[in-house]
């Protein structure tokens, strides 16, 4: 029982912190002259808090992990919304599909090769490689 309570507390604390960052991000976003979504600013805030060690990462870990693991699920409601745009999608079907398809493949190729060329065959940065790069 105690365990379940503490688990619930950890999740609730994580979600409250995530939402606080989101609200702060939305507030800042509404003040900016250009459109940067509040969620992106909120993420930068949370990233800043974590990397400066102001916020212990354990406090947000449970909430973050669960949101990221099931992120694809969150797209289902909008995805089903395709059915509402049948007419527009039908008339512009060719350009839409071809442009998305070709462009995605080009991006994959360009980025993968760029990164491969720049980073070389090195795998993830180890402590040694990190020092070398510094």
């Amino acid at each position: 029982m105690n365990n379940a309570l503490s688990l619930a507390f950890h999740y609730i604390r994580a979600f409250i912190l995530i939402y606080l960052c989101l609200f702060a991000g939305n507030a800042i976003s509404s003040l900016l002259p250009i459109t940067i979504p509040g969620s992106i600013i909120g993420m930068l805030i949370l990233f800043g808090l974590l990397s400066t060690q102001i916020l212990p990462f354990k406090w947000v870990k449970p909430g973050c992990n669960v949101l990221i693991r099931y992120m694809a699920l969150l797209f289902v409601p909008i995805g089903v919304g395709v059915m509402n745009y049948y007419e527009q999608l039908r008339t512009q079907f060719g350009p839409l599909v071809v442009s998305c398809l070709v462009s995605t493949i080009i991006v994959l190729l360009v980025v993968a090769y760029c990164s491969h060329y720049i980073h070389g065959d090195r795998g993830a940065v180890t402590d040694k490689a990190e020092k070398k790069n510094d």
Partner: protein, 231 residues
């Protein structure tokens, strides 16, 4: 409000069933999001239930998209040492990737005779839905069409991305993650995170940086492309 009673359980049931099946059969084409759309859309059409009612019932999931974007800070933080070591190259790669994604998508659409409105909706297709919809709005596209493109591109990456990268013999986790995140945003990232934690971290890095770059550059790049195609 009563719609939540059928809509949410339906979404959850279909999604998790598809997910379980995809893991069991190890078939990437059984992407849970794709399967959910393929099952739920005909179901709504057959039963004549309007989409607005379905959406109202499952809105809570959609509302979680924003905190999910915030949550991406966590894998970023966990890869802080990776970022510190090579932030210049990562940002340059994302910059190139975002420009390529925006120009190729928009140019091909315009070249094939898409209206400026549709081309504007295609432009932010490689970034995550909330950013793409906001960006489309700012360049006079249709946010809903952008959402469709975003999902299409995301599914493409999630389903075929790793196969394409394998064919190209791209094996480093950094390159794979960055490519998937730049090309297929959150869905590519979700797929990467399933396969390998570090790949997922690089992918979310690309997702975030490309999202910011795209939302900043699209308003300037779009008029240039339109002018080039004589609109």
């Amino acid at each position: 409000m009563i719609d939540i009673l059928w809509s949410l359980p339906l979404t959850l049931l279909v999604f998790f069933a598809a997910r379980k099946l995809a893991i069991k059969l190890k078939m990437p084409l059984l992407n849970p999001l794709l399967m959910s759309m393929v099952i739920i859309i005909p179901l709504l059409l057959v039963t004549n239930i309007p989409y607005t009612r379905y959406f109202a019932g499952s809105k809570i999931l959609n509302d979680l998209l924003q905190p999910a974007v915030v949550a991406l800070a966590f894998p970023l933080y966990e890869q802080l040492h990776q970022i510190r070591a090579r932030w210049k190259s990562i940002i340059s790669i994302c910059f190139i990737g975002s420009i390529v994604a925006m120009t190729t998508g928009t140019a091909i659409a315009l070249w094939m005779g898409a209206t400026p409105e549709i081309a504007a909706s295609v432009m932010p297709k490689s970034v995550t839905t909330p950013i793409a919809m906001a960006t489309a709005q700012s360049i006079h596209g249709i946010p809903a069409i952008s959402a469709v493109c975003v999902i299409f591109v995301g599914i493409l990456g999630a389903v075929f991305g790793h196969s394409i990268l394998n064919v190209l013999k791209i094996t480093t986790k950094a390159s794979r993650g960055l490519a998937m995140g730049t090309a297929s945003h959150a869905l590519g990232t979700a797929r990467c995170a399933e396969m390998d934690y570090q790949e997922g971290a690089f992918s979310s890095l690309a997702l975030v940086i490309c999202g910011i770059i795209t939302s900043l550059l699209a308003p300037f790049l779009f008029p240039v492309l339109l002018a080039l195609f004589g609109h």
